[in-house]
């Protein structure tokens, strides 16, 4: 097991107070806090190595390039990709899904094709497909979700057919924390010749994820949810698929050659090698270096330990939340064997924003609203939800305090 008290010493922000109360940060599904190792790595880059990458022969640029490239290696190793060629740095999960939708979808999806998406997806795994479908005319089929928030696998299997070209599924729901069997979904998708895109935004930071074991064709995730800085994320893609794809953005870095032909009055362009073909312009070098440091931090702890700690906290929190406040309802399953450390809840008669503001008074940070997953809330027949989500630095004492404050909310 990991030691959250020892870990907390690495997180400067956890020492601060909010509204005169010790900060209790339970909005980790939205973004995580950053350890000083990550903050120091970013500062060290700017203080000692800052230069543009892949542009110059001088020492600083070489150092920056080396750090940036090794960051790709670090991430590849973390998720068991075959190599850095399969790791594209993007701004976050949203950009990663958009990259696939535009680069692959625009060129490969035709009128009679279908893309299968689940109803529990974050908007970032729905909206890009809806946008592209309006352009090329393909159909989107939505996988049903059961009343307890679990994925309806019968629906998934019945929707995937020879017409299906892509299946898009979150590994872990950002609303309920439910872990989906994406390996099973990938197997069905592949049987019909479709590709599988996994939204790993809520799984890669919290569970051991082996992309080869999942056999997903694409996995998208964000650095800021896994102790890294904002503005950096990852698209993993199988090399043979990325090789065949056209670039997403055009510009510097992603080309090897741009030559003007006097006769045709056009430029002929040769793309750069992977992963740079998909990283146009000056990349977020400091972000990549920060992410690599975050990955090292998580590897030191061990992802099995991260998972076990969150499972312990969730098991501890669920009965306490239910006992302390009779007006409280937990949305979705409470079976901790199939969910991560995310607990969506509501208090009868109060909006989720009231709940969050009440907790904020006591220094407790939880998310309120739709969490960018409106279809799932509609399915639950609720307008919004409050959401507590845990990470490596959260403790049972914080859960106790959270439950104590929830008890007081009954008076509202």
């Amino acid at each position: 097991m990991l030691d959250p008290y020892r870990i907390r010493e690495d997180f400067p922000i956890l020492k601060r107070k909010v509204n005169n109360c010790p900060l209790i940060y339970f909005d980790n599904a939205s973004t995580s806090q950053k350890p000083k190792q990550v903050i120091d790595a970013i500062r060290d880059f700017y203080e000692n190595h800052n230069a543009n990458v892949h542009r110059a022969v001088y020492t600083l640029s070489q150092e920056a390039s080396e750090l940036y490239e090794s960051a790709h290696d670090e991430v590849a190793n973390f998720i068991n990709a075959k190599g850095m060629e399969e790791i594209i740095f993007v701004r976050g999960t949203t950009e990663a899904v958009n990259l696939v939708a535009y680069s692959w979808g625009l060129r490969n999806l035709k009128k009679d094709d279908e893309v299968v998406v689940s109803l529990m997806e974050h908007h970032s795994n729905i909206v890009p497909w809806e946008i592209i479908s309006k352009i090329t005319g393909f159909q989107i089929k939505y996988i049903e979700v059961n009343a307890d928030g679990t994925l309806n696998y019968e629906s998934l299997e019945s929707l995937i057919s020879k017409k299906t070209k892509m299946v898009c599924l979150s590994h872990v729901s950002n609303v309920t924390g439910i872990v989906n069997d994406v390996k099973r979904a990938a197997k069905v998708a592949h049987e019909f010749g479709a590709l599988m895109l996994v939204d790993g935004a809520q799984s890669v930071p919290h569970l051991p994820v082996d992309v080869r074991e999942l056999d997903a064709d694409f996995v998208a995730f964000s650095g800021h949810k896994m102790l890294g800085p904002t503005g950096i994320g990852v698209l993993y893609g199988k090399r043979e698929i990325l090789d065949k794809m056209e670039p997403f953005h055009g510009g510097g870095e992603m080309i090897r050659e741009v030559s003007f032909n006097q006769k045709t009055r056009h430029c002929s362009i040769v793309w750069n090698v992977l992963p740079w073909k998909f990283e146009a312009g000056t990349p977020n070098v400091a972000g990549g270096i920060g992410l690599a440091q975050a990955v090292k931090y998580l590897k030191r702890i061990g992802m099995e330990n991260v998972k076990a700690h969150e499972e312990m906290l969730t098991k501890y929190a669920l009965p306490r939340m239910q006992e302390c406040c009779k007006k409280l309802e937990i949305y979705g399953t409470t079976d901790t064997s199939i969910k991560c450390g995310i607990i969506p809840f509501g208090v009868d008669g109060l909006s989720s924003h009231d709940v969050a503001l009440f907790l904020d008074n006591y220094g407790i940070m939880v998310r309120s609203g739709f969490h960018c997953a409106q279809p799932l809330h509609e399915m639950f027949k609720i307008n919004s939800s409050a959401r507590a989500s845990f990470y490596i630095y959260n403790t049972r004492e914080e859960v106790d305090r959270f439950a104590e404050v929830l008890k007081e909310i009954e008076q509202l």
Binding site: H353, D354, N361, F370, Q374, H377, N383, S384, Q411, L412
Partner: protein, 89 residues
């Protein structure tokens, strides 16, 4: 006529069907703003002196000791501005 901007740091409308509007008062002005609001609105309920359920004219809203207020069922931002202006004057 009071300038609402002197007191308000941020107004945020929530997405979805709730249409709650959350007003965050400027940190250095929050105590003054709360005092004025509590002087104008009727207190329906108060919890530990940090959460107040208030009524002002036909509007119910909650005021939090952290310097935030949550309004709902407002027609638009203009209606909120008039309300805030009257509460803070």
């Amino acid at each position: 006529m009071v300038n609402v901007d002197d007191y308000v740091a941020r107004i945020e409308g929530t997405c979805g069907k709730d249409k709650d509007v959350i007003v965050t008062f400027k940190y250095e002005k929050k105590d003054e703003a709360m005092k004025k609001i509590l002087g104008k609105a009727m207190v329906k309920k108060s919890i530990a002196g940090i959460v107040f359920e208030l009524v002002f004219r036909a509007f119910s809203f909650r005021l939090y000791g952290s310097g935030k207020a949550i309004f709902r069922d407002l027609k638009d931002r203009d209606e909120l501005n008039v309300l805030l202006s009257d509460l803070l004057s």
